[in-house]
């Protein structure tokens, strides 16, 4: 885990997103698929103090500029708008790589990789690593509409098969990734489903994977203030190996969790509740 003064060396539109390449020497060398970087935003006079976190799309450990890190950014609020309006050669402070990467299977089992929106960003690199290990890989990419799909062409290179869904039917199947996932898992005999995207999608992916005999490994996206494990803002309830549910920091305990360990019953409507049976949960008559 490093903090480096990086530099933007490429910025291009990719559908609804911006694909940024940052020089961040050292970060690239240490990273594995599923990890993320935390970028400072707003420059020297910034009122936006908190870092913004982005999945690492891919890395180039060395090269003309030293190691580079690619991220795919959806411009939403103040920080992402600032990042996407940067010009080449602007400085960007980078902390990373952060979090636990996708765990890789020890055997060459078939895998399905599911990405929702920009959630597909970390999956291509993962696909390559899996295929290097001999795992057959298929991808399922979904989004609200065609412009919100990221990397469909890349997917065709990185995976043995690609299925696309959009909510509005503007590309691929009309519907959700979970509508098609079961068939893909069955067809491939997949042992692992990796997924990254919105919480609702991760929940359905977990359900479908379980129902079809696969393990789900999901990368969650919780609101993070620090990204390095010191603030406790990014927690979600996860059942441990001992069966006990704890409020786990998704920046250091995740962002990748086994889907069946996440307490989806506590998550919804933009709020994550503390399950009553969680360790240290408030109980009537005091905490």
């Amino acid at each position: 885990m490093l903090q480096v003064g990086g530099e933007l060396i490429a910025s291009r539109r990719a559908g609804a997103y911006h694909h940024l390449t940052l020089v961040a020497p050292g970060v690239a060398e240490l990273a594995a698929p599923g990890q993320f970087v935390a970028l400072a935003v707003g420059g020297a006079t910034s009122a936006t103090l908190l870092r913004r976190c982005f999945s690492i799309h891919r890395v180039t450990p060395s090269g003309t500029y030293g190691g580079t890190v690619d991220v795919v950014v959806a411009a939403r609020g103040a920080g992402t708008r600032w990042l996407t309006s940067l010009r080449v050669h602007d400085p960007v402070d980078v902390v990373g790589p952060l979090g636990r990467p996708f765990p890789l299977p020890t055997e060459p089992v078939p895998c399905v990789l599911v990405g929702g929106g920009y959630g597909s960003a970390p999956l291509f690199w993962l696909a390559e690593v899996l295929r290097e290990r001999g795992c057959p890989v298929e991808m399922v990419l979904g989004a609200a509409s065609e412009d919100r799909l990221f990397g469909v062409l890349q997917a065709r290179r990185s995976a043995d098969g690609v299925t696309v869904t959009t909510d509005d039917g503007s590309a691929g199947h009309r519907g959700w990734v979970s509508d098609v996932l079961g068939d893909v898992v069955d067809r491939l005999g997949a042992g692992v489903v990796y997924a990254c995207g919105p919480m609702g999608m991760l929940r359905s992916v977990t359900e479908v994977a379980s129902a079809h005999g696969a393990v789900a490994q999901v990368a969650v996206e919780e609101s993070m203030a620090c990204g390095i494990g010191v603030c406790m803002t990014c927690v979600l309830p996860v059942r441990g190996g001992d069966g006990v549910t704890r409020m786990v920091r998704s920046c250091v305990g995740g962002p990748v969790f086994r889907g069946d360990r996440v307490r989806w019953d506590a998550i919804g409507d933009g709020v994550t509740r503390v399950p009553e049976d969680a360790l240290g949960a408030p109980h009537p008559g005091g905490h």
Binding site: A40, L49, L50, S223, C226, G229, C231, M232
Partner: protein, 319 residues
């Protein structure tokens, strides 16, 4: 080289920069960015008697030059803290200020009792009583909003901590008159005051039209609140200088991001400074602030850091 040592009620620290409770976890995470033993002291996340899950999420919202948090004192409980966290910090050679809290004044006492019995107690250079938390016995009113509750907690904590280790009372700025609360804490035996905790705030999500935090209210921190922290430190140390309050060291906290920010708190009267929210922006912030504060002291040509403490009271222009 400026002598950066500072004295905290009998304990001498090699330098005046600390982490702020709850903004640095218990050390392992930041130690990857700099050796936590290099700080004047490491202040741990407030620990309570039992393990606590904390609040639902969202627990945070960014605000202009600050943030709102409502963690709800999530933590492992004092026993796990003594077993895992404190020994690790001792091993690093860190000087530790342990922040403690309880749902009731008595619970503060229980926490301290177990803490003092910890095999790693030797690394503890101070106990910070986080009285800016709700008192279950008094309709959830924050202890530090009421002089009587503040006094009760500090008295219990002071009684259980061995005399050679200072007790710090951490105050909230959300009161009409912080000097009265400071007086109550000092009267009850606090050796030093930590000022300030967060301000109570709310952010509304303007898409969902509901409070952004699941817990509705949260604590406002970061550079946005620095003028309030400086004012609180100023008021309390002015009262000490005028003899209205007994003299005691003040540990400043609130909005410190750079060495000059730290110097603001010091010149207003703080003998040491904690770095909180800025750590989320820059994981090396506490260590960097120390380097920058040292450079500021050198720039001002003082030989001892101590010469800067409260200096603004003396340099004030009288109109």
């Amino acid at each position: 080289m400026v002598d950066m040592r500072t004295v905290l009620a009998g304990t001498t620290l090699p330098n005046p920069v600390m982490t702020a409770s709850g903004c640095a976890a218990n050390g392992t995470e930041l130690n990857r960015f700099f050796p936590v033993a290099e700080l004047g002291a490491f202040v741990t996340k407030t620990v309570m008697r039992d393990p606590r899950s904390g609040r639902p999420t969202p627990r945070m919202a960014e605000t202009p030059s600050g943030m709102l948090n409502s963690i709800g004192l999530q933590g492992p409980g004092i026993d796990a803290f003594c077993e895992h966290d404190l020994p690790w910090l001792e091993q690093q050679g860190a000087r530790v200020v342990v922040s403690v809290a309880g749902n009731t004044a008595e619970e503060f006492g229980e926490v301290v009792q177990r803490l003092v019995g910890s095999p790693a107690w030797g690394c503890v250079v101070g106990v910070e009583a986080n009285i800016s938390c709700p008192n279950v016995a008094n309709r959830g009113l924050v202890f530090a909003c009421d002089p009587v509750s503040s006094e009760r907690v500090v008295r219990i904590v002071r009684a259980r901590v061995p005399a050679e280790v200072p007790v710090l009372a951490k105050l909230t700025p959300d009161v009409t008159d912080i000097v009265t609360i400071a007086g109550a804490a000092l009267g009850a035996g606090a050796d030093a005051l930590t000022m300030v905790n967060t301000l109570l705030g709310i952010v509304i999500d303007t898409d969902l039209l509901r409070p952004r935090l699941a817990g509705v209210t949260g604590g406002l921190s970061g550079p946005a609140i620095r003028p309030v922290a400086v004012r609180a430190i100023w008021q309390v140390t002015a009262a000490m200088r005028s003899g209205t309050l007994p003299t005691a060291p003040v540990v400043g906290v609130g909005g410190v991001r750079t060495g000059t920010d730290a110097l603001e708190l010091v010149a207003a009267g703080a003998s040491a400074v904690q770095v909180g929210t800025a750590t989320f922006n820059d994981p090396s912030a506490p260590r960097r602030v120390l380097t920058e504060l040292e450079a500021e002291a050198a720039r001002h040509g003082v030989e001892r850091f101590a010469d800067l403490v409260g200096i603004a009271h003396e340099r004030m222009v009288r109109p």
